[in-house]
Each structure stands twice: as structure tokens, then as C-alpha cells.
Amino acid sequence: MTVATDIARPRRSLSFGAGALLLGLCFAAACAAPFVLNGYGLYVLTLTGVFALVALGLNLLTGYAGQISLCHAAFFGVGAYATAILTQKAGVPYLLSILAGALFTAAVGAIVAVPAMRLRSLYLAIATLGFGVVLQKIIFEWRSLTNGGGGLALSPPAIAGYELGASGLYFLTLAFVMLGLWGAWNVSRGRTGRALLIVKESEIAAGALGIPAARFKVIAFAISAFYAAVGGGLFAYLVRYIHPENFSVGLSIAFLSMVVIGGLGTIGGSIVGAAFYVIIPELLRGIKDAPGLVFGLLLVIVMVLMPQGLWGLVRRLGRRT
């Protein structure tokens, strides 16, 4: 039995050299950014990092495990509020608050996963949409804790008595993005990532391999909510005023778009997708009257020409070098 080798090409991802070069260049550029950009530019870049964290987690859930979530804005919000409340009202140190908030949100994510055991595709999407609305409503109504529709104003964050300025928060976000990238990369190439891929392919096949689909859906939701909540904890102190309206369904759809545009089931694509979603509209501001129109059309063009997402393009370019 010989394989027709001309049609059967081995699977290739980015070569190690090209990948390392790309990552090194991005990291160098990211470290230099605060010294080059003005305040607003730095804010946009920090926001990109925050959204990239959410997209990384969502990509593990949607790209790997095949579960659609329309409540990631709510996870993001729970993380933001938990971090803000812990620091401002309970005096817990900032980093510890982010971690505690993220663990709490991971537990919330595991609860949201319960209907995911029975539902799939659009039905799951609608169920998570409902969860998102409920969580947002809880934040709104729990006035004693969240100040409801009045929102929460936050004083600048501090770590070990040192007040974080805009570049401090930027570097903190960068550190979390690097950590998040590393963790997501490891999971995607480890036992859990492989289990998620087979759960997406077929729950029956997963069962036959000794992989309980239900448990791995819960794990995927929990990890994904953890990532979103870390992003939320950073976001709260980036904008320094949070309001329940920040965390509506529209933002959930934006997160999903970042993942799809970057490339489902790709780690690097999550970062590229978030960057596209945050930075392109900023660059389009110069075009008078029609930035929304141009951005919308760009989304359509990217999806039509690159169904694999932007990361597919990066991969193709990387292979040539």
C-alpha cells in the first residue's frame, strides 16, 4: 500500500525558527512601545492585551472544544467587578485580587458548562447568551456590592506600595499575556488540548477513548472563564470606571469575532484577532464619516478571503521564510 506522496503532504505549522523570530520581534516591539507611543496609543495597546487574554481563553473553548459562548463579556465583567471589589472594599492586594477573582469566575464558568453537557451549537449559544444576561443583571442589581447602575470608580492600582501608572499597567498586562500565551500553548499541545479536540470532533469517539466529554467541557469553560476574568481584572484598572453596561452581549460577540478572525483553534490567532479588532478601528478614525463602514467591510473581506482566519496568513508567510 503506497501513498500517493504528491497529494499527501505532511502537516506543517510555523517552523521553529520563524516562530521564534516572530515572537522575539513582537516582544521587542511590545517592550519598546511605552517609550514610543503617546498616552492614548498606550491605552489602545493595553486594551489589545486585555482582549487578547480573553480571546486566548475563548479560543480554547470555541476553537478547541467546539463550544460557542456568548457570555464571555459577563465572565470578563465578573472578573472586573470581583477584582475591583476585593481591592477597593476588602483591601486585598491587586495581584491577589486578580487571581482570586479569576478563580471565582472559573467556578462560575463551570456552572455555565452544565447546560453545555446537553446542548450543542446554536442551542448552546442561546443558553450562554441567557447566562450572560443573567450575570449582567446580577451585577446591576447587587447594589450594595457593585453600586449597580452608578458604576464603580477606582483609584490607581498599586503593587507592593508602588502605584502603577499607565506604563506599569501596560507591562503588567504584557506579562499576563505572555503567561497566558505560554499556558494556552502548553494546554493546546497537551493532554487536555487533545481531549478537547476529540470532544469537538465526536463525543462518542471521545467516550470510546476513555475521555469523558462532559468533564472536559466543564474544564474548557472553567479555563476560558479564568482567562476572561484575568482580562477583566486588568480592564477594570485600565479604564478605572466600570459599569454593568460595559459587559453586554455586544462585547461577547466582539470576543467571538476576534477568535474567528484570528483563526479558530490557533493560539497565535487569538492575539492577532484581538489586535485587529482593537487597532484597525483606531487606524480608521482618520477616514471621515465612514470608519464603521470600512471596518465592517474589512471583516467581511477577511472572512471571505481567509476562512482560516488571519493566523492562516501568518502561517503561510512564515513557511516561505
Binding site: 500500500m1 497529494i7 497537551g190 476529540i198 469517539a205 470510546a208
Partner: protein, 254 residues
């Protein structure tokens, strides 16, 4: 020596009886063919054994322990491998990566170690990769190890599916139409492979297959189902001459 016992298993789906009071045993080292006309309940029986369908009566036991109340993943963990008629593989991954998925249970590390890629993860992954190499060699797929499933011929995909089951420390293997869609040389190769894993690993194998020459050449024993009833159980030569079996097949042809 392990024994898989199907005891008085019945399954009904809303008034339709897919299986009625079916009983037989499968010992390790035995190859048993499960045959019968379409709709006889063969796949339903495989589903009962692997925990996908819960019997409405009776039970399946492995060395006395009841399997038929356990979820599929637990049944698989107890050493019951299942290969489906159509292989469900992750098409964008390579052959090797698909086989790594089946090492799930033997990789003992937890999520935190995985996130941080601690040294125990490296060691476990290397050990699993070595086992995958052995299975690739056994399947004769070493040269295709890095091809994506998308680029793999159908016959090879079925081998990869079988390879996944072999990576799971199984004691019994359930095969659903293993030669459907294979060419002659692939069928011969599969036959040799099954005989070899039976000899080397002592597996008990239950095969659902329509191709009579293949089944009677491979199996020590045939179990025949017709409309959910077990109508014969014995050596191929005897079973195929059984008037009831001949009638059920003739009935289907007529």
C-alpha cells in the same frame, strides 16, 4: 484470562425491541463474529457493551463486574476498546497526533502541571510518544506518521482508528464492520494484524461484519442475531449450515 459476559440483554426503543434476551460470553484470546441481517441489532449490542446504550433488561459484565451501568468513558477505561464503522478522527491533525489522543488515560499529569509544562509532563509525553511509535510500527503506518488525516486514504484511516484502541491497554476489542471500504490487500493486512494482536496481547475480539468469507476465515465462533434474537452460537462451519441461520439470510435475500 478475562471474560466478557452478555447476560440476558434486552433493548427496546419505545415499543420496538432491538434486542431480546441475548446472552453469550467472550473470553480473552477468542475472536467471535457477530453476524445477522440488517436491523438484527448488531450495532445496538456493541453499543450496549461499550456503554453508549443502556440495556432495558439484563447486563454486561467484565469478570463479574457490571459494566452496563457505567458511562462510555469509564467502560473504555476498564479495557473495552471500540472501533466504529466510520473512523472519527481529527482530520486537521497528523496520524501521530491522533494516536496521542488515545494515550489520554495513560498520561497521569494534572491540569496545573500541563499549564506550566512541568518536568513530569515532558517525561509522560515522551513515554506516550514511544508507545505511539510502537503502534505505528505495528500498523505499518510509520511512514505516514506525520501526514494529516485529511491526506490519508480511507483504509489507512481505519487503521489509525484501530491503533487508537490498541493504545488504551484494552482487554477486549469491539469492531464494527472493519473491512467495509477496504481493498483486497488492505483486508488481508487487517486480518493478519488482528490475528497478531490476539496472539501478542491476548485480546478477545468481537467483530460485526457482513463479509462471510472474511468472518468465517477469521473467527473461532459466530454469534447470529435475527430481529433481536440470538439464533445461533458456535463454530463457523456449524453455524453457517444451521437451517435457522440459512433461513434468516435467505429471508433477507428473498
Amino acid at each position: 484470562m478475562a471474560r466478557l459476559a452478555v447476560e440476558n440483554v434486552s433493548v427496546s426503543f419505545g415499543g420496538i425491541h432491538a434486542l431480546r434476551d441475548v446472552s453469550f460470553d467472550l473470553e480473552s484470546g477468542a475472536i467471535v463474529g457477530l453476524i445477522g441481517p440488517n436491523g438484527a441489532g448488531k450495532s445496538t449490542l456493541l453499543n450496549c457493551i461499550s456503554g453508549i446504550t443502556r440495556p432495558t433488561g439484563g447486563r454486561v459484565r467484565l469478570d463479574g463486574v457490571v459494566l452496563s451501568t457505567l458511562p462510555p468513558a469509564t467502560v473504555a477505561g476498564r479495557g473495552i476498546g471500540r472501533v466504529f464503522q466510520h473512523p472519527e478522527l481529527v482530520v486537521e491533525l497528523s496520524v501521530r497526533e491522533n494516536l496521542m489522543i488515545a494515550c489520554h488515560r495513560s498520561l497521569g499529569y494534572g491540569l496545573i502541571s500541563e499549564l506550566l509544562k512541568l518536568p513530569n509532563v515532558w517525561a509522560a509525553e515522551r513515554a506516550a510518544a514511544r508507545r505511539v511509535d510502537e503502534v505505528l510500527d505495528r500498523l505499518g503506518l510509520s511512514e505516514s506518521a506525520d501526514l494529516t488525516i485529511r491526506n490519508l486514504p480511507y483504509g489507512h484511516r481505519k487503521l489509525v482508528d484501530l491503533g487508537r484502541a490498541l493504545l488504551m491497554d484494552i482487554r477486549f476489542l469491539l469492531l464494527d464492520e472493519p473491512i467495509a471500504g477496504l481493498n483486497e490487500s488492505e483486508v488481508a493486512k487487517l486480518r493478519d494484524l488482528l490475528l497478531r494482536v490476539r496472539r501478542e496481547l491476548g485480546l478477545g475480539i468481537l467483530v460485526v461484519e457482513h463479509n462471510m468469507p472474511f468472518v468465517s476465515g477469521l473467527c473461532d465462533r459466530l454469534v447470529v442475531l435475527d430481529l433481536g434474537h440470538l439464533i445461533a452460537n458456535g463454530p463457523p462451519a456449524k453455524v453457517l449450515r444451521d437451517p435457522k441461520v440459512m433461513a434468516s439470510y435467505l429471508g433477507e435475500d428473498a
